[in-house]
């Protein structure tokens, strides 16, 4: 809460460019949280998460363009469509494990991207589809507050879900699906449910993002985008609650800071992922916890302040 109050003042001190970077960071925070629910907590390593951001964005922009609905209605429709598609994709993947699920979801993501590219008479494909600005301006400040609020809601909803009975089912499915089913967990129902929920996270973020950027193209539906989400969650800490939040902001800011490097950044991120996966499976969050514990051991007076937050798995 305190941190959020501080964050609310940011646009006053930062340039528009920096504010824009933060808006994009917050957009990725929502995507990363949604994917962590699916991949981190439930163990469904889907590679179609970025696609649902595209589904949200295109659904809304197309409805606004052709049916002239208000933008918020378009975004809500995008969430509904994504939920249905997420449920459908989850159903398709019910009996798939690990690499097969990853491949199937990847195939789904590529098909949808190609469909949007090819159907250019409707979607304008690579020409780009104009999406009207939500706040009638491309300036980032109002969108910053919007995404700050959205990220807050995403965090609260995810926290609620993870701490609920459903959160226990999700972890049980991830740890051992067969054991979960013979202990009474309806694994099909809950896997589909998490697929749908994470799709809604992505679609809402994507929908608002579309009406902020103002122009949609199939490019962000390429696999690169998914790779970035995976990098964010793993660097931040897969299976930790704060991981995707920390990772999304860290990677997005780093990515902007190193913009001059171009695509070489991906090499750096890949190395970062390898180092983290090898040495610090709980990512930056895990490193911070370890550092906190060490500091608390050295300076006992600090212990209550540094009390590590709930370990989420």
């Amino acid at each position: 809460m305190l941190a959020y109050t501080a964050l609310a003042w940011v646009p006053w001190g930062a340039s528009e460019y920096h504010t824009h970077v933060l808006v994009t960071s917050l957009y990725y925070v929502i995507l990363a949280i949604g994917w962590n629910l699916l991949a981190g907590y439930t163990g469904q390593f889907s590679l179609a998460h970025h696609t649902f951001a595209g589904v949200g964005a295109y659904t809304s922009a197309l409805l606004v363009r052709y049916a002239h609905v208000p933008i918020l209605v378009g975004i809500a429709a995008g969430a509904v469509v994504a939920a249905a598609m997420g449920y459908g994709l989850g159903t398709l993947c019910l009996r798939m494990r690990a690499i097969y699920l990853a491949l199937a979801t990847w195939a789904f993501a590529e098909s949808l991207r190609l469909l949007i590219t090819v159907e250019y008479e409707i979607t304008r494909g690579d020409l780009g589809l104009a999406a009207p600005f939500l706040f009638a301006t491309p300036r980032p400040t109002p969108y910053y507050y919007l995404f700050l609020a959205l990220a807050m809601v995403a965090i609260l909803v995810a926290r609620e879900l993870v701490d609920s009975r459903i959160g226990s089912y999700m972890r049980a499915i991830r740890d051992d699906e067969e054991a979960a089913s013979v202990m009474g967990v309806d694994t099909f129902k809950w896997k589909r449910f998490v697929f749908a929920v994470s799709a809604v996270f992505a679609a809402v973020a994507g929908g608002f993002q579309g009406h902020y950027v103002g122009l949609l193209s199939p490019t962000p539906m390429k696999f690169n985008e998914m790779a970035i989400i995976v990098v964010m969650v793993i660097v931040g800490g897969l299976r930790t609650f704060a991981g995707p939040i920390v990772g999304a902001v860290f990677i997005e800011v780093l990515s902007e800071a190193l913009r001059a490097w171009g695509e070489v950044r991906m090499v750096l991120f890949a190395l970062l992922v390898i180092v983290i996966a090898r040495g610090y499976p709980n990512g930056l969050v895990g490193i911070c916890h370890a550092a906190g514990r060490r500091l608390a051991a050295r300076v006992p007076a600090l212990a209550p302040v540094l009390r590590p937050e709930r370990q989420s798995d």
Partner: protein, 257 residues
């Protein structure tokens, strides 16, 4: 030491808690379970023996809903359960353990045993949480894991993992039929004793019915009055140990005579 078969809380028309008819499961050309008739009375502790590959584990997988039968039927207290999914069978009071313990590794020991109760509440169960926690603690004490209740399950030894599987299964409520797959294989003798004591205790005090797949004849002899013998997917004999041991087909299957 054997225990008398006792009638469970639910008496049904034909007296069987579990009954399979012509149960069949094929994997490609292999008939893993072949026309199996198995019938277990309420309150019984039944052994299921047979050489490796005789279809014992496949039978448990069919009974718990992990596999779908190609033919035949499974009835629990007269109700057909062979088309139900695993969690629906669990909801009817059937629990099981696996030969290689399948735990929720990232959860604590206590969270593992509480999971069946969570699903029970999710189905609309009305047991108060206090009662559930009480039972969880008592079961963990029974299997000597109470001191480890806050440890992550992945840190347990093989034998302890088996004990935890058993405690977790007993949390299914109301537990009527407990299917165990090789609970004694490769565990330390003290743990073996704990498992036997747990089985006997739950059978006596709560009338839980057990179907135990095992190779440990001496142990089964102390637990069960009757055993069923499978060979190449078929039920080849059933009865007391003495009856079964003198059965010509069993001798041939087991000893090659």
């Amino acid at each position: 030491m054997t225990i008398a078969d006792r009638a469970g809380p639910k008496q049904i028309a034909n007296g069987w808690l579990l009954e399979t008819k012509s149960l069949t499961k094929r994997f490609g050309g292999l008939v893993a379970v072949d026309d199996l008739p198995l019938a277990v009375r309420p309150g019984e502790v039944r052994g299921l023996i047979g050489p490796n590959g005789s279809g014992k584990t496949t039978t448990l997988n069919l009974l718990s809903g992990l596999y779908r039968a190609d033919a035949g039927e499974i009835r629990l207290s007269g109700e057909r359960i062979d088309r139900l999914r695993p969690h629906e069978i669990t909801a009817r009071g059937v629990a099981r353990t696996f030969q290689t313990p399948k735990l929720f590794g990232s959860m604590t020991v206590l969270e593992n045993v509480l999971l069946p109760a969570l699903t029970e509440l999710g189905r609309g169960g009305h047991r108060p949480m206090g009662e559930i926690r009480d039972r969880a603690r008592r079961l963990l004490e029974l299997v000597t894991l109470d001191v480890h209740r806050h440890a992550p399950a992945k840190e347990l030894s093989g034998g302890q993992s088996m004990l935890l599987q058993i405690a977790r299964g007993l949390m299914v409520h109301p537990i009527r039929l407990f299917l165990m797959d090789e609970p004694f294989a490769g565990v330390h003798p003290t743990i073996k004793d704990t498992i036997m004591e747990t089985i006997l205790r739950m059978n006596r005090t709560e009338g839980v019915t057990f179907l135990i797949v095992s190779h440990e004849m001496a142990t089964l002899r102390r637990l069960c009055r009757r055993v069923s013998v499978m060979h190449e997917g078929k039920l080849i004999a059933e009865g007391s140990f003495e009856e079964v041991a003198n059965h010509a087909v069993v001798l041939e299957a087991y000893l090659g005579r």
